[in-house]
């Protein structure tokens, strides 16, 4: 079985689903037998899902509108 270091080297690509079938097989065997790496994998997947689903940093429409309105007013005034 691969070591935890070897698992960690491939971990980023595994999260992104960018490993070959051969590598995936090794990583999944390791995950099934190593609790520490399993916890790391599970909680990192959940982190990514939480971040992705969080709708963070959505500029409120009213704020966005007010900034754009003010920019356009300035540009139209300059043109006139």
């Amino acid at each position: 079985m691969i070591t935890c270091d070897e698992f960690f080297t491939e971990f980023g690509d595994y999260l992104e689903n960018r490993v070959s079938p051969e590598v995936r097989k090794e990583l999944e065997l390791h995950l099934s037998q190593c609790r520490a790496c399993h916890v790391l994998y599970d909680s990192t997947c959940k982190t990514v899902k939480i971040v992705t689903d969080s709708s963070s940093f959505d500029l409120p429409q009213t704020v966005s509108d007010s900034i754009i309105d003010s920019v356009m007013a300035k540009l139209r005034a300059d043109k006139a």
Partner: protein, 604 residues
């Protein structure tokens, strides 16, 4: 004398012994590289590992491959040496003559005929090779170790031929007579440029070999933060991988003659002319790592004449493309043209060696059907059909093609054109459509939402001021976000924040290790409201160091692909991956106290 000046070689020079011992003489092709002994060293490493010893294929089988490919290319120099070596290995003159005229009629075992069929196809029209050709080899009893060796031996043949055509060494022996009408290389079929996607790739079995267990992988991982699929596909032959990696160093790493960027541009342009998507994607990435904007790499792949390279560098690429992809037209006159532009013989030699190395890699990749490591630039994929015709015109000195670019499918293209013409309504619609990524780019870099809102006005005004400079070489949204990014970086500099976003050195991801090892709840989101979750995430992201924050924002909040993040930030994909993983792990540390099992809600 060869095309280039030569200096006497010291007989004690290590790499020469490889040839002296293996062949019994020093070929003139080696003397023709005497200006740069490190280039000779690169060839010696390859020859020692591939042609000069028995492997999964016998020496005679490999020499027959080398000979047939040289003869098929009408390369009198290489064919003469291979003829000599074959005879020394005990192959009869009649057999050699049959190999030249038609290997199918030579008195060969059926398996050897199949082997030569495969290698000749790979050597003359690599883009046409498919898994079916590899299956045919298996039917004749070749295992995957020998199939890898066949591809690599073909690569070596192409490498040698590229050197011999580019350097024009004096013959070492009389050349065998070629048949009056050589079998013409199959015309490039454009179907080949788009192989069936369902094909299993790579074509050979590639067992997992970890970075930690194989020193050449560890070296690559340290310098490039990833292991190219080209090498991962050859893990049944670690000896060959080691030699390939070792032999690249002396050609690609030194900067004393040509720069790294010039070499990468050569490999990009010649790979593009060879319609090799894998290598185009790889070199676009490497060039980004050297600071070249993504659009510029795309442009070199599509048509370097339209790029921002100096005129001198464009001529250098013309030279390399002709040598690497249109070698039948190459002559001493091409060397003279470079000399007239004050390229030194050492520079020309290095350009020839880089082109030869590129063709080696292109050939091995096509032979093994290695999947690209990175997204192939869409502009290149779209222009492949055009490119195969364009390269001919380019060599003929006729007009160059005008490429369509990444902006081809920009939904904002019409509005952007109207805005450029001064239409304020069109501009307003454009910024309303694209305000969200602008804001996120600002927030990501500035790490402060109030300041991001404040900076947004500057960005939009600046975009209008510079709209005439928007040439449509990228999407409008990309262009606008790049203004946001530059504005934010300028503000960071003004507040003398020492946070660096664009340092190019690779981070070593192994020095960051997670400390939180408690398992998380099954459904951590259920404990918090949507607003609370958003606040936790925003707080966590804002606490990240800038270079991680930007990447996490783009990948996980804006949900751009890793390749797109790399393009927009001007980083290589591996560099983005390292930052992304570390950013995600830091966020995980930060969120862990809230979501781990057996912990009550923080604050309760």
């Amino acid at each position: 004398m060869s095309f280039l000046s030569e200096v006497p070689l010291e007989d004690r020079l290590g790499p020469l012994e490889v040839f002296q011992k293996g062949l019994g003489f020093i070929p003139n092709l080696i003397r023709a590289q005497s200006l740069l002994p490190r280039v000779i060293e690169a060839q010696a490493i390859k020859e020692r590992a591939i042609s000069l010893q028995e492997g999964a294929l016998s020496r005679v089988q490999k020499e027959q491959i080398l000979f047939c490919i040289a003869a098929n290319r009408q390369d009198a120099y290489c064919a003469a040496i291979d003829n000599h070596v074959l005879r020394a290995l005990g192959v009869s003159e009649d057999r050699v003559n049959d190999l030249i005229n038609n290997h199918r009629r030579a008195d060969l075992a059926a398996a050897d005929v199949a082997l030569l069929n495969f290698c000749l196809k790979l050597g003359s029209d690599p883009a046409s090779v498919s898994s079916k050709d590899v299956d045919l080899l298996r039917e004749h009893g070749f295992n995957d170790q020998s199939i890898i060796e066949a591809a690599v031996t073909t690569g070596l043949a192409v490498y040698r031929c590229t050197l011999s055509i580019g350097l024009g060494p004096e013959p070492d022996f009389e050349s065998p007579k070629f048949p009056a009408k050589p079998t013409p290389a199959a015309p490039r079929s454009l179907d080949h440029a788009h192989p069936a996607p369902q094909e299993k790739r790579p074509y050979v079995h590639a067992p997992y070999v970890s970075v930690e267990s194989f020193a050449p992988f560890a070296i690559l991982h340290k310098s490039h933060a990833f292991i190219p699929g080209l090498f991962r596909s050859q893990t049944l032959r670690l000896d060959l991988i080691a030699a390939e990696i070792e032999s690249m160093g002396p050609i690609l790493m030194p900067q004393d003659i040509l720069t790294r960027s010039q070499k990468e541009c050569i490999m990009l342009a010649v790979s593009a002319a060879n319609l090799n998507s894998y290598c185009v994607a790889a070199h676009c990435n490497l060039l980004r790592g050297l600071g070249l904007p993504a659009e510029e790499g795309d442009q070199i792949a599509v048509d370097h004449h339209q790029s921002a390279l100096s005129q001198k560098d464009k001529v250098l690429l013309d030279f390399a493309i002709k040598l690497g992809a249109r070698f039948a037209d190459f002559s001493r006159a091409d060397i003279l043209e470079l000399r007239a532009l004050e390229f030194t013989d050492k520079q020309i030699l290095e350009c020839v060696a880089v082109t030869a190395l590129n063709n080696f890699v292109n050939t091995v990749q096509m032979g093994l059907g290695v999947e690209p490591d990175f997204e192939v630039p869409p502009a290149f994929e779209r222009n492949k059909v055009y490119l195969s015709a364009a390269a001919d015109r380019l060599i003929a000195g006729a007009s160059v093609v005008r490429p369509s670019t990444a902006a081809g499918d920009d939904p904002d293209a019409d509005l952007a054109a109207a805005a450029r013409a001064g239409n304020l309504d069109a501009f307003e619609e454009l910024i309303r459509r694209n305000s969200r990524p602008v804001y996120r780019a600002l927030a990501a870099i500035l790490g402060n939402e109030d300041e991001a809102q404040d900076a947004m006005q500057d960005v939009l005004l600046s975009a209008f001021k510079h709209i005439a400079g928007f040439q449509g070489r990228s999407k409008f949204s990309t262009w606008l976000v790049s203004i946001a990014r530059n504005t934010a970086l300028q503000r960071l500099r003004e507040r003398r924040n020492d946070e660096s976003l664009d340092e190019r050195a690779f981070d070593d991801d192994r020095d960051f290790r997670p400390r939180q090892v408690r398992a998380w709840q099954d459904n951590p989101e259920q404990e918090y409201t949507q607003t609370e979750m958003r606040q936790l995430v925003e707080k966590g992201i804002m606490a990240l160091p800038g270079k991680y924050r930007v990447v996490v924002m783009m990948r996980d909040i804006e949900q751009l692909s890793t390749d797109e993040v790399a393009r927009q930030l001007g980083l290589t994909v591996p560099a983005v991956k390292v930052r992304l993983l570390r950013g995600r792990l830091m966020l995980r540390e930060c969120l862990s106290p809230h979501f781990a099992r057996d912990v009550r809600r923080v604050g309760q």
